[in-house]
């Protein structure tokens, strides 16, 4: 299995799509942070003083329940615990102008997680779809006929590669943000900032890796990259939206909602149809996404093992 893994590693390293996606992401980071840095200006002392007052007012307003009603708070939370996490000084400081703030990095990483999930799905689906398209699956199986071993090794290698790619890209984004904010913005960070950033990076990396496993599984069943990507995106964008609106009670069990909860790392209040609100914990999110991925992989293994290869 180690040899097969080494072969799969060489294969994924050789794939142009992986490098193209990585380069595009790096260009996106360079352009985005570059523009942000160019448009940013350091705050004046008057802006800092004004923003401090605004932050203090906002904190008080939150504690009075003006931002969120107590009944809408996630389970186990109070205004005293919720407000410090959600009303941040960085949201009010420098509000008079455009300033690149490194303190906003965790939210930015969460915001860009969608792109990394898409990259994970595309790499995962194409890693199997390319084999079916070029007919190389038959060639591969004349070297390693144990199909379950072939698919599991591929899943593991693709997940590891996507995790490494996602973590690297986020690290580059973080470093670029730090450099840009130190140069022309605000590089002050709240307590626990670095830990927060690392946790977000790891969570997003894991979610992207799981997304790639789902891509591998669907592509193994569909035997086509394009069809598999179509199915995944139609399901996430259309089917889950419809389900959320029409059958509100399934909201806590939807894949996209639980991916969002994992990325955020905290218990979330999710709205379904009929203004219903559901509380979804981080553990629930992990277990639900894990169940989706496991079920799809088992299905993929059953299909891959039993169907003829032509």
């Amino acid at each position: 299995m180690i040899r097969l893994a080494r072969s799969e590693l060489l294969r994924i390293r050789s794939r142009r799509l992986v490098w193209v996606l990585a380069v595009l992401a790096l260009v996106g980071i360079a352009v985005g942070v570059g523009i942000g840095t160019m448009k940013s200006h350091p705050p004046t002392s008057a802006e800092v003083a004004r923003a401090d007052k605004a932050f203090a007012r906002a904190t008080q307003a939150c504690l009075r329940g003006e931002f969120i009603k107590e009944r809408r708070l996630p389970e186990g939370e109070t205004l005293q615990t919720w407000c410090p996490d959600n009303v941040l000084r960085s949201q009010y400081v420098f509000s008079s102008g455009t300033v690149l703030r490194v303190s906003g990095l965790p939210d930015m990483l969460k915001g860009t997680s969608f792109l990394l999930i898409v990259i994970g799905i595309v790499i995962g689906a194409s890693s199997v779809g390319a084999d079916w398209q070029s007919g190389t699956m038959a060639t591969l199986l004349t070297w390693e006929p144990r199909r379950i071993r072939v698919l599991l090794t591929r899943v593991l290698i693709v997940m590891a590669a996507v995790f490494a790619l996602a973590v690297s890209l986020q690290a580059v984004l973080g470093l670029a943000m730090m450099a840009g904010s130190a140069l022309r913005g605000d590089s002050t960070t709240p307590p626990g900032f670095l830990t927060d950033v690392i946790e977000v990076i790891l969570r997003v990396g894991v979610v992207a890796a799981v997304a790639s496993a789902i891509g591998v599984a669907i592509s193994s069943i569909g035997r086509s990259t394009a069809a598999s990507l179509g199915v995944i995106f139609v399901y996430l964008a259309l089917v889950e939206s419809l389900l959320r609106g029409l059958v509100a009670r399934v909201t806590p069990w939807l894949l996209s909602a639980n991916l969002f909860v994992i990325v955020d790392g905290r218990t979330q209040s999710l709205e379904g149809g009929d203004a219903a609100v559901f509380t979804v914990t981080f553990t629930h999110g992990v277990l639900t996404v894990g169940a989706y991925a496991t079920a799809l992989l088992i299905l993929a293994l059953v299909f891959f093992r039993s169907r003829d290869v032509n």
């Binding site: 294969r11 070029s134 060639t139 290869v309």
Partner: protein
């Protein structure tokens, strides 16, 4: 049903030709052997193990190409082979050697999509040879090759068979099989219609004899008949059913009667003739 009731034994060592018209079930049989397709019933053994159940135990000794060799078009030939080689811990040196052996050393770093069909075939053979296998399964390896390429593949197959390997080769280029194979099996409509050493398959049709060209074939027929040798007129030729080794009898009998031949050659039956006769028969009723 692509293959039905096929009972075939391939001896160890040498080149075994697997013949049949398109759709006869050759590729399906190979796919079954390699575990790519599950047969509905029956039993297959390769290198003393049941396949496909125990194929992993012997796959290290089996090299194969099935139909057009499929490799990643955007990777170089060398990169494709290295990816496959790593599965068995085969290093870059062996990859370079096998590329050299099939004449692709200079184009090894080019993308496979830039290869001609013949080069892709040779790369496929290289992939099959990479394991240095005891059993080599080649499905139509001469497809798309130019005449020079066909000769190269023929010589390579002969050499591989001569090295003690078992080369199982399917092809529709019958002259190639006749020149390279020690034994053949002919498949039609998913069933085995003939199998055995090439010379036995050829002899099974009968027709051993010599062809004689004369100015007056009818006069020649009568002359031979008078000497106790029956023959038939076939156009401007006389077909005489005696072994070519006894052809001097024909020249003597004819000369004794003042008839002189302008050509005498063995009445050879080639594999193509046998193949066409065996596979032309209607499909047996189900």
């Amino acid at each position: 049903m692509a293959v039905d009731g096929l009972d075939l034994s391939v001896p160890e060592g040498g080149v075994f030709g697997f013949l049949g018209p398109n759709g006869a079930g050759k590729t399906t049989t190979i796919r079954c052997l390699l575990g790519l397709v599950s047969p509905g019933a029956g039993r297959m053994r390769m290198l003393d193990v049941d396949v496909p159940r125990s194929l992993p135990r012997v796959i290290r000794d089996v090299g194969a190409i099935v139909e057009t060799p499929a490799l990643f078009p955007r990777f170089s030939g060398r990169r494709n082979l290295r990816i496959l080689g790593r599965i068995d811990g085969i290093g870059p040196k062996a990859v370079d050697d096998v590329l050299e052996r099939v004449g692709l050393a200079e184009r090894g770093d080019d993308q496979v999509k830039t290869y001609s069909l013949g080069m892709k075939q040779r790369l496929g053979i290289a992939a099959a040879l990479l394991k240095d296998p005891a059993v080599l399964i080649l499905d139509e390896p001469a497809n798309g090759l130019d005449p020079a390429g066909i000769v190269e593949v023929r010589e390579l197959v002969r050499k591989l068979g001569g090295e003690g390997r078992t080369v199982f080769i399917s092809s529709h280029i019958l002259s190639e099989i006749q020149q390279t194979a020690d034994r053949v099996a002919i498949l039609a409509h998913g069933r085995l219609v003939k199998a055995g050493p090439v010379h036995e398959v050829l002899a099974s049709r009968g027709g051993e004899g010599v062809l004689v060209r004369l100015r007056d074939p009818e006069a020649g027929r009568k002359a031979l008949s008078a000497s106790g040798v029956e023959s038939t007129v076939d156009g401007d030729m006389l077909r005489v059913p005696i072994p070519p080794a006894e052809a001097e009898k024909v020249t003597r009998f004819l000369a004794e009667r003042g008839l002189f031949l302008s050509e005498l050659r063995p009445d050879e039956v080639d594999l193509e003739t046998v193949f066409l006769e065996l596979t032309r028969e209607p499909e047996p009723p189900a």
